[in-house]
C-alpha cells in the first residue's frame, strides 16, 4: 500500500559522503525534489573525512579504468568548483621519488601510465635538482606531477552538501535506511525517521554499499574494508616540504610506502598504512602502524622529530577486491537491470575525492534517461566568507565594528572567533556536534587539541543555541561529551 502521506521525491540518495553530496549538488541545479539520507550526525562522516585530502593527477590509476577517467576529468573541474563553492585548493604538486635504480625503473613505468592516462606536465628530474627545491628530501630521481593538489576533504563535502541544501535538496541527518522495496516504478525507502518514496534511488553509501544493495538484490560483490592510519604533524614543521612526497609503490611485504602530504592548513600528514580488516567500523589507530609510519617517514625526511605528532586518525577504504585478488578493482557505477532507476556506486576508494565531480556528472547522465532535467532559473550561490585569521587588520576591524563577536577569539591555536563558531553551528544542514564545528571553522584542530576552545564552544552551544550540555555530542549520536551536572537545580 502506498501511503499518500509518504514523502515523495524524484531522487533519493543514500549516503552523505563526497559522492552523495556531489551528486546532490549537481541535482540541485535542476527542478527536482531530491533527498539525501545520512545515518550519521553530519555529512562526510566516514571515508570522505578520513583520507589524505589529495586531488590526484591520475598517474596511479590503471590505464583505461574508470578510476583513471574520472580522476583526470574530476581533477580539471576542481579549480572552478573551489572558486564557486569557496573551499581552498592548493596545487602543491607531487614528487614520486626513487631511492635506487630499480625504483627508478618503476618511476619510468609510472610516467608512462600517466602519459597514457593523459596526465599533463609530468617530468622526470634528478635527485640533485630535487634537493634544491626540497632540501629535506634525498632521492635518486623524482617524478614531478604538477596537477596533484591538496584540499580539506570534509570542507569540500560540506561545501557541496550545504550549497545543495541552500538549493532545496533535503539532507536528513541521523536517518538510517533499514529497508527498501520496489512497488510499480517507485522505490519505497524505509528509515528510522519515516517512509519515503522516490523514482530514482542512488546507493552512494560507501562502506555500506553492499548492505544497501542487498536490500533489493543479490550482490555479486564483496566489500573488503582496508584501514589506513595517519599521523598529523604540528604546523611548526610545515617548512619541511612544499610538495607531496611519495615513494615508489613498494614491492616489499610489510613496507607501507608512506606518503608525506602537506595539508592546506599547514600541517603534514604521514600515511596512510593499508591493513585489511573485518569490521568496516573499526577506525582505531594501532601502535604497530603509528610506529611504522613515523619510522618510514624518517626514511624520506630524516629531520622529522619524534614529538612532532599532534594527532593520529584512521580511515577505511571500501575495496571490492580481496588481498588475494591483489586488492585492486575498478569503480563499479551501474544502474541495475533488474530494478531500473537503482544506481549503485560500489568500491569508491581513492581517487574518489578527485573523481567525485566527474562521477556526479556521469550519474546525472544516467538519471536524465529517466527524468527530464529542467535547469532552474535561479541558483543560490554559496556565500563565501573568509576566516578572521585570513583577513587583514582593516577587514578585521570592520567586522568587529559590525558584530563584536568577531573580536572574541575562542580558539587560541587557530585564532577562530565566536562569530565563526556561531556561523558553523548555524549551518543549513542542522549539524550541531563538536565535530561539526571543528570541520567548519577549525576550532579544536590546533596543537592544544581543544584544551582552550572546548569550554567556549560548549558555552556558545548552551547560551546561543539553548542546547543542553548533557545532550552535546562529540560526533556520533551516542558520543555524549558529559554526564550530568556537578550541582542540580531541582525545582521545588
Amino acid at each position: 500500500m502506498i501511503h499518500s502521506r509518504m514523502k515523495n521525491f524524484h531522487v533519493a540518495i543514500i549516503g552523505g559522503g563526497i559522492i552523495g553530496s556531489a551528486i546532490a549538488w549537481e541535482l540541485s541545479k535542476y527542478k527536482l525534489d531530491t533527498v539525501v539520507f545520512e545515518k550519521e550526525c553530519d555529512v562526510a562522516f566516514g571515508t570522505s573525512k578520513a583520507n589524505s585530502g589529495v586531488i590526484h593527477s591520475g598517474i596511479n590509476s590503471a590505464k583505461d579504468s574508470l578510476k583513471a577517467k574520472f580522476c583526470v576529468e574530476g581533477n580539471k573541474k576542481i579549480k572552478n568548483l573551489a572558486n564557486e563553492l569557496g573551499f581552498k585548493v592548493k596545487w602543491v604538486g607531487k614528487y614520486v621519488i626513487s631511492k635506487n635504480k630499480e625504483e627508478t625503473k618503476e618511476l619510468e613505468k609510472l610516467m608512462k601510465t600517466g602519459i597514457s592516462n593523459k596526465v599533463p606536465g609530468l617530468k622526470l628530474i634528478q635527485g640533485n635538482d630535487l634537493t634544491i627545491k626540497e632540501p629535506n628530501v634525498i632521492c635518486e630521481k623524482a617524478l614531478w606531477v604538477p596537477t596533484a593538489g591538496i584540499i580539506l576533504p570534509y570542507g569540500f563535502t560540506i561545501a557541496l552538501a550545504e550549497n545543495a541544501t541552500e538549493n532545496n535538496v533535503k539532507f536528513l541527518l541521523e536517518t538510517k535506511v533499514t529497508k527498501i522495496k520496489k512497488r510499480n516504478e517507485k522505490f519505497i525507502i524505509i528509515t528510522n525517521k519515516g517512509d519515503f518514496q522516490s523514482d530514482i534511488l542512488i546507493n552512494s553509501s560507501g562502506l555500506n554499499c553492499k548492505n544497501i544493495f542487498q536490500m533489493l538484490e543479490e550482490p555479486d560483490f564483496n566489500v573488503y574494508p582496508c584501514r589506513g592510519e595517519y599521523l598529523v604533524l604540528d604546523k611548526k614543521y610545515c617548512h619541511l616540504i612544499k610538495s607531496m612526497i611519495y615513494p615508489v609503490p613498494p614491492k616489499e611485504y610489510g613496507v607501507l610506502g608512506v606518503h608525506i602530504t602537506p595539508t592546506i592548513e599547514g600541517n603534514i600528514l604521514i600515511g596512510p598504512s593499508a591493513e585489511f580488516i573485518d569490521d568496516p567500523g573499526d577506525k582505531k589507530t594501532t601502535k604497530k602502524m603509528m610506529d611504522a609510519l613515523l619510522n618510514e617517514s624518517k626514511d624520506l625526511i630524516p629531520s622529522i622529530p619524534d614529538n612532532a605528532v599532534i594527532n593520529a586518525f584512521s580511515g577505511i577504504r571500501c575495496k571490492i577486491a580481496s588481498p588475494e585478488e591483489g586488492g585492486w578493482a575498478d569503480y563499479r557505477i551501474e544502474e541495475s537491470k533488474k530494478n531500473p532507476g537503482f544506481i549503485n556506486l560500489i568500491g569508491i576508494e581513492s581517487p574518489g575525492l578527485t573523481a567525485a565531480p566527474a562521477i556526479a556528472e556521469y550519474v546525472i547522465e544516467m538519471i536524465s534517461k529517466h527524468i527530464e532535467l529542467k535547469t532552474k532559473e535561479f541558483f543560490n550561490k554559496r556565500k563565501i566568507e573568509k576566516r578572521f585569521s585570513e583577513l587583514n587588520p582593516k577587514q578585521q576591524s570592520e567586522l568587529i565594528k559590525k558584530d563584536e563577536k568577531w573580536g572574541r577569539i575562542i580558539c587560541r591555536c587557530e585564532h577562530v572567533t565566536e562569530a565563526e563558531v556561531i556561523k558553523a553551528l548555524s549551518n543549513p544542514l542542522g549539524a550541531q556536534t563538536l565535530s561539526s564545528v571543528k570541520n567548519r571553522c577549525r576550532a579544536g584542530m590546533g596543537r592544544c587539541q581543544g584544551g582552550f576552545c572546548t569550554q567556549h564552544i560548549v558555552r556558545i552551544m548552551n547560551e546561543h543555541f539553548k542546547i543542553d550540555p548533557n545532550k552535546i555530542k562529540l560526533k556520533s549520536s551516542k558520543s555524549n561529551l558529559f554526564n550530568g551536572n556537578t550541582r542540580i537545580k531541582k525545582n521545588d
Partner: protein
C-alpha cells in the same frame, strides 16, 4: 603582518605590558607598580582574571608566602584586590595576535589594539599534554579529557565529564581531580602512573588517593583506548625498568571517562615567532637573572618560563620579572657589566636563570634528571668550587631552589659556572 589597516587599530601606550593575568602576571604587575612603572596593562584571553586559579578550588596555595594555606580563588583574590587598588589596567577577553617592535597587536570585542609598550612580560602559562603527545593507540571516542579541562567543567561550568573515571598521571593535577571526582559522586577507578612513584606531593597522595581507597597503579601505562562512540574501556599494562611493556600484565578496565594528567607544556608561540631563544629542557625562554629574554625589554615568568611546583616559588620569580620590566621601562637598566652562562652539569636537567649579567644574590631554580638519596649540589667554575649544599634527597618532580651570591669577579672575568650533583664529598 600587513601594514594596511594598522591605522584602524585602537592605539594604546603602556610602560609595562603583561601578557597573562594568572598568578605570574598578577605578581609581575604588582611588582612593576611597586618599582615605579606608572602605566601597566595586563592582557588576558579569558573573561576573568586569575588564569588557572579560579578553577583550582582546592587549598595548598601560598603556604610559604603567607603562612596560611589558601584555595586558588583566594590566592587570586589577594592579588586582584591589590592590583585594583593600584590602578593597574586589565584587558579581559583579549587575545594577543602578534608583537612588532614591542607593539603588541591584540584583539577583543572593541576591535584591534596596538599597545606600544616600553617593556613586555610574558606570563602566558602552559597548555596540557594531550593523548597524542604519548600516542595512545585505539579508538577516538568521547569522554577523553585533559585533567585541567575536566576541572574547569566541574568547578566553573557545573558540568560533570563522566561517571566511571580512570586518570593517567599522578602529578598534583591528577591527584586533586581524583579527589574532586570522588567528592562529586563519580566512581574513580584508579590513577595510572608510569614511574615507580607518584609524581605529586606525598600530601596529595595521602589526602586524595589513600583517604578514599583510590588505587594507584605504579609502573603502569595506558596502551589502548576502546569505545565506539563514548569511551568503553582502557587497557593498562605494567612496564619494566626500561619502560617496555611486560607482556601478560595487560588489564582492561571498563570506564566511560579518561582524564589525562600527562604534564604541561609552557606556551611560547609568541616567543618563538619573535625568534626569542628557548631552552629545550625548560620549554621556556633562556633568561638572565632579571628574567629578561635575549630580546631586550621582553621578560618571561611563570609557567611559560618553566613549569613550577608551587605558586609561591613562581611568585618570587614573577615579582623579579615585573620589577625588572619596570626598571627597563623607566630607563633605569643598570648597565650590564658582562654576561656569564649557567650550565646544567651532571644530574641536572636545567637551571634558571641560564645567564647572569650582574653581580648580586640570585634565586636559582633547577630540576634534577633522576631521583636520588643524599647528594651534594655544587656550583663550580672551570677551576674552583664556589658553593656546596647537601641535599637529603632529590626528585625530578620537586624543584630545587637556592640563593647564591654571584660576585663581580665572576662577571668581569667572564667565568661561566656549572651547577651539578655529586655523590662525592
Amino acid at each position: 603582518m600587513e601594514i594596511r589597516g594598522l591605522k584602524k587599530m585602537i592605539d594604546l601606550k603602556a610602560d609595562v605590558s603583561i601578557i597573562g593575568a594568572g598568578p605570574a602576571g598578577l605578581a609581575a604587575a604588582l611588582s612593576a607598580k611597586e618599582n615605579g612603572a606608572k602605566n601597566i596593562i595586563v592582557i588576558d584571553r579569558n573573561s576573568w582574571i586569575g588564569g588557572i586559579l579560579p578553577q583550582c578550588i582546592h587549598d595548598g596555595f601560598g603556604i610559604e608566602e603567607t603562612g596560611s594555606s589558601m584555595t586558588g580563588p583566594e590566592y587570586a583574590h589577594m592579588y586582584i584586590k591589590n592590583a585594583k587598588n593600584q590602578n593597574i589596567t586589565f584587558m579581559k577577553e583579549t587575545m594577543v595576535l602578534d608583537i612588532i617592535n614591542k607593539k603588541i597587536i591584540a584583539v577583543n570585542t572593541k576591535g584591534l589594539l596596538k599597545i606600544k609598550s616600553k617593556s613586555i612580560v610574558f606570563a602566558m602559562g602552559c597548555r596540557e599534554k594531550t593523548r597524542w603527545n604519548i600516542l595512545v593507540p585505539g579508538d577516538r571516542p568521547s569522554g577523553i579529557y585533559t585533567a585541567g579541562v575536566a576541572q574547569a567543567f566541574i568547578n566553573l561550568y557545573n558540568i560533570m565529564p563522566g561517571k566511571n573515571v580512570i586518570i593517567v598521571g599522578s602529578g598534583d593535577v591528577g591527584l586533586i581531580i581524583a579527589r574532586r571526582l570522588k567528592f562529586e559522586g563519580a566512581n574513580v577507578l584508579g590513577v595510572v602512573e608510569i614511574l615507580p612513584y607518584a609524581s605529586g606531593l606525598p600530601r596529595n597522595v595521602v589526602q586524595c588517593l589513600d583517604d578514599y581507597d583510590i588505587p594507584l597503579f605504579l609502573n603502569h601505562t595506558i596502551i589502548e583506548i576502546k569505545g565506539k562512540q563514548r569511551l568503553e574501556s582502557v587497557t593498562i599494562a605494567q612496564v619494566d625498568k626500561k619502560g617496555d611493556i611486560i607482556i601478560g600484565s595487560e588489564r582492561k578496565i571498563l570506564c566511560d571517562t579518561l582524564l589525562l594528567s600527562l604534564g604541561l607544556i609552557p606556551e611560547n608561540e609568541l616567543a618563538n615567532s619573535l625568534g626569542i631563544r628557548l631552552d629545550s629542557f625548560t620549554g621556556g625562554p633562556v633568561v638572565n637573572q632579571k628574567f629578561e629574554t635575549n630580546y631586550p625589554g621582553i621578560f618571561s615568568c611563570g609557567n611559560s618560563l618553566q613549569v613550577y611546583d608551587t605558586v609561591d616559588v613562581l611568585t618570587i620569580d614573577a615579582k623579579k620579572a615585573g620589577k625588572n620590566a619596570s626598571l627597563y621601562a623607566m630607563g633605569e637598566n643598570n648597565k650590564d657589566s658582562g654576561e656569564i652562562s649557567v650550565k646544567p652539569g651532571a644530574g641536572v636537567r636545567y637551571v634558571i636563570p641560564q645567564k647572569i649579567t650582574e653581580p648580586g644574590k640570585i634565586h636559582f631554580t633547577l630540576r634534577v634528571i633522576k631521583p636520588s638519596g643524599k647528594i651534594n649540589l655544587k656550583i663550580v667554575t672551570k677551576k674552583s668550587v664556589l658553593y656546596k649544599k647537601k641535599l637529603l634527597w632529590t626528585n625530578p618532580a620537586n624543584m630545587v631552589e637556592f640563593d647564591f651570591e654571584i660576585s663581580d669577579f665572576l662577571i668581569k672575568n667572564k667565568k661561566d659556572i656549572e651547577v651539578f650533583l655529586d655523590e662525592k664529598k
